[in-house]
């Protein structure tokens, strides 16, 4: 009687695979529910200056599971060597930008109207204030942007070294 044994083995193998599938399905749903309830801090992936609109567009990733809402933005403008503009600070511009979970969202930051276009070497330090649904606290993320310089890591390193001296 070879055939019944073969049927038994075949059914057992399929049952094991099915059980594996069921187990991983339930693990996946519970884990994704847990992850969906954890708010994360947004990550600014990219910043681009738009000359026509005189604004900077930030691509912000929300790596967590809950939606985050940017409620306000501030920025500090520091002129470089080429610029004739003076340094200025614009703070607490109210906006309402929702960052859905797991998605890159573009947020526009309009520079002060009437000021000159950004020149190479100008720096804009933007601070976004955001909230998440689990608490009423305010959180911030600051992103330094230097016109015409690709390496984003340069700016924070410089500020650190200044602080050290």
């Amino acid at each position: 009687m070879k055939r019944p044994a073969a049927i038994f083995i075949l059914t057992t193998v399929i049952a094991l695979v099915l059980g594996w599938g069921i187990g991983s399905f339930f693990t996946q749903t519970t884990v994704s529910k847990v992850i969906a309830s954890i708010p994360a801090s947004p990550i600014v992936l990219d910043a681009k200056y738009n000359k026509e609109k005189h604004s900077i567009t930030y691509s912000i990733l929300n790596p967590g599971g809950t939606p985050l809402t940017i409620v306000d933005e501030s920025f500090v403008f520091t002129p470089g060597k080429n610029s004739k503009e003076k340094a200025y600070i614009v703070s607490h511009v109210p906006i309402h930008a929702v960052l859905p979970p797991g998605v890159v969202t573009k947020v526009e930051l309009k520079l002060k109207t009437g000021t000159e276009k950004l020149q190479i070497g100008d720096a804009v330090l933007a601070t976004f204030t955001y909230i998440h649904p689990l608490s009423t606290d305010l959180y911030t993320v600051a992103h330094p942007f230097k016109m015409g310089i690709g390496g984003k890591n340069e700016a924070p390193q410089k500020t650190e070294s200044k602080g050290g001296k």
């Binding site: 055939r3 019944p4 049927i7 038994f8 075949l10 059914t11 399929i14 049952a15 099915l18 599938g21 069921i22 399905f25 339930f26 749903t29």
Partner: protein, 195 residues
């Protein structure tokens, strides 16, 4: 007195049902996938029950027949016919056990077809959700859980069907051999008588 007792019993009954619905809705609200899994499993088992026990019975009887036991013909005839009277009118008891078993096997065919159709539709819906052809965060996992629950009785039906058709095939081969041996014996006896 009796009326009072009746009302008390009725009140307890209603309270139990209300509490049950409350608990059930709590479970559904917090674990929709687990509930869908259980409902898929129980619901499909309901339809698979006839197939599971039918194929199981066929496989058992055919195995017993192969081992040399003589199963009760009337019981098998009742599975095939609508009623004992119908079985008598159809003269099922004149048939061999193997023939009755093959009739029983083919009588389960429409049920098997309907069952596999139901499973296929459920499977199709969950595949549509899985491949994001239709997308819903609420119904996607629920449809998938129903399919997983339904897959368990389906696997049982499938395995038992393979087993039952194998044993019935063996029993039929054995029965045909016996019939041939009998007819050849009868033929040789006839020949001897002719001589």
């Amino acid at each position: 007195m009796q009326r009072v007792l009746w009302w008390i019993a009725f009140g307890i009954f209603v309270a139990v049902i209300v509490l049950g619905i409350f608990l059930f809705s709590l479970i559904v609200a917090s674990h929709p996938e687990a509930t869908a899994f259980v409902i898929g499993f129980l619901g499909f088992w309901l339809f698979a029950n006839r197939l599971i026990f039918g194929y199981g019975g066929i496989a058992n009887t055919a195995k017993a027949l192969l081992d040399g036991e003589i199963p009760n013909k009337e019981e098998i005839a009742q599975k095939v016919a609508k009623s004992p009277e119908a079985a008598k009118l159809q003269k099922l008891e004149e048939l061999s056990v193997a023939a009755l078993l093959s009739m029983w096997l083919s009588s389960l065919e429409p049920f098997k077809y309907a069952y596999y159709l139901g499973f296929f539709l459920t499977f199709l819906i969950s595949i549509l959700f899985e491949l994001n052809i239709i997308s819903s965060l609420v119904f996607g996992p629920v449809a998938e859980a129903v399919t997983f629950g339904a897959a368990i009785p389906t696997l049982l039906v499938w395995g038992l069907e393979l087993l039952a058709s194998y044993y019935v095939g063996q029993a039929l081969v054995k029965a045909v051999k016996e019939v041939e041996a009998e007819s050849s014996e009868a033929g040789s006896q006839n020949g001897q008588q002719n001589q």
